[in-house]
């Protein structure tokens, strides 16, 4: 029987190796799998390349992972936000590498990676400093840059609900990068608030079909990053 549930966040991330590429879902705190990130901090893997839209805030979640020196490089569209101090300090100190990618190109590269597309062309970033070093080519008179698909060893994603097959539905704009990151990682690990029986998620409304999901862990009442930041908490 197929059953992708694992008992704990710790078990779910146990095999993340040093130097792994890890996609981490979320747009700000919406969709950020904070319990999985904390489990990864506890687990101790180092030298990670993290693909994520932001770099976290305060001293919890993704920001804490970075602060603990576990991340060698981030591939990211917007590495500073309100209450984000960890990444800027590490970056200025030359202790972390940044590959800055326009948000739509980041999303499309992840989608391409998951769909077996090694490279594609886009007009985004043409004529800007982010074009530097990239091949360009004209299609119907429009200059485009070639961008490569992105894949990862692991992805950490937060969803609303799952069944044992790994079928997922999300909550509102917390969906964001989750569905495409599940497709682009060899091992996608998802925290959900609730497990349901197969069939309880209507086949018409499944957002991520289970084939893209390897492990599901239930976190019934996930922490709110912004609340922890307001309370001045840090992890661990």
């Amino acid at each position: 029987m197929i059953d992708k549930r694992v008992a704990s966040a710790a078990e779910a991330v146990a095999d993340v190796h040093d130097g792994a590429t890890v996609m981490i879902g979320g747009f700000g705190e919406a969709g950020s799998p904070i319990e999985l990130i904390h489990a990864l901090i506890d687990q101790g893997a180092r030298g990670l390349t993290v693909v994520s839209n932001n770099t976290g805030s305060g001293d919890v979640g993704l920001a804490a992972l970075i602060k603990h020196g576990r991340v060698a490089k981030v591939i990211c569209s917007y590495p500073r936000t309100a209450n984000s101090t960890v990444f800027p300090e590490m970056y200025r100190a030359g202790r972390i590498e940044l590959e800055l990618v326009p948000q739509g190109t980041l999303a499309e590269r992840i989608r391409a990676g998951g769909a077996g597309i090694p490279a594609f062309y886009t007009a985004t970033a043409v004529g800007t400093v982010l074009e530097a070093g990239k091949e360009t080519r004209s299609f119907a008179g429009r200059t485009c840059v070639m961008e490569h698909g992105l894949t990862a060893d692991f992805s950490l994603v937060k969803a609303r609900r799952a069944d044992r097959y790994g079928n997922l539905v999300y909550n509102k704009t917390a969906r964001n990068f989750g569905p495409i990151m599940c497709t682009a990682a060899s091992v996608s690990i998802v925290q959900v608030e609730e497990m349901v029986s197969p069939g309880e998620i209507d086949p018409e409304v499944v957002v991520t079909p289970g084939v893209f999901v390897k492990r599901v862990v239930v976190v019934p009442d996930p922490a709110l990053e912004s609340q922890w930041v307001r309370e001045g908490r840090s992890y661990p």
Partner: protein, 210 residues
């Protein structure tokens, strides 16, 4: 200013509003018109600001502020959202600016200073993918320096992408013959607008001889 932009949004338009000033546009849409607001982090059909007790941390806009969804809204993932932008499905984008050049070049993501943390977000996708780009900005910087220039000195967001600039002083079109002033704020004259602009302007408002 935001009201001015709102007047130029036609009925039925799909509109993306940038972070900051542009967020104000939605509330000024004239009666009888319906526009659909696209939020690039995965919502089509943004509604009015939520009541304080209805805030949902998982329903936010690109500025990470809480928003609402209208009846008839749709949620989708990031690749689908940017497919809307990059596939030219959104009609109008209203963005802030650090600098705009007379040829429509836009700089709105980085000052290019050596110790700045570069952060681009979706700005380059928006200007490359949406046909009509409106800039909404104060006419000058806080120090009184012009933001509308012959050439941008900051790193570009996109080349020749801006169609119209709305400021506290004027509405200015970017045209093939240069920057054309379409309208001025009450009590503001063409000379003043020109004086506070770093590129040549042409008068093009109703009644002018241009």
């Amino acid at each position: 200013m935001a009201r001015q932009v709102a007047r130029d949004i036609p009925d039925g338009a799909y509109v993306n509003l940038g972070i900051g000033l542009p967020e104000l546009v939605a509330q000024y849409l004239p009666e009888g018109r319906e526009a659909i607001y696209h939020v690039e982090n995965g919502l089509l059909g943004m509604g009015p600001d939520p009541a304080p007790d209805a805030v949902d941390s998982e329903l936010i806009n690109a500025g990470k502020k809480p928003v609402t969804a209208i009846p008839g809204a749709a949620y989708f993932h990031h690749a689908d959202s940017f497919a809307m932008i990059r596939g030219r499905h959104i009609d109008i984008c209203v963005l802030g600016a650090m600098q705009v050049a007379m040829n429509g070049d836009l700089a709105n993501w980085s000052t290019g200073e050596p110790d700045a943390i570069p952060a681009v977000g979706g700005a380059m996708d928006l200007v490359a993918g949406i046909r009509t780009i409106y800039v909404l900005t104060q006419h000058t910087t806080r120090d009184g320096e012009p933001k509308i220039l012959e050439r941008c000195t900051y790193p570009l967001t996109g080349r020749a992408c801006v169609d119209r600039i709305y400021t506290d002083l004027a509405v200015i079109d970017v045209t093939s013959r240069g920057l054309v002033v379409r309208q001025m704020a009450p009590g503001v004259g063409f000379e003043e607008v020109q004086r506070r602009t770093g590129a040549p302007l042409f008068p093009g408002f109703a009644g002018s001889a241009a």
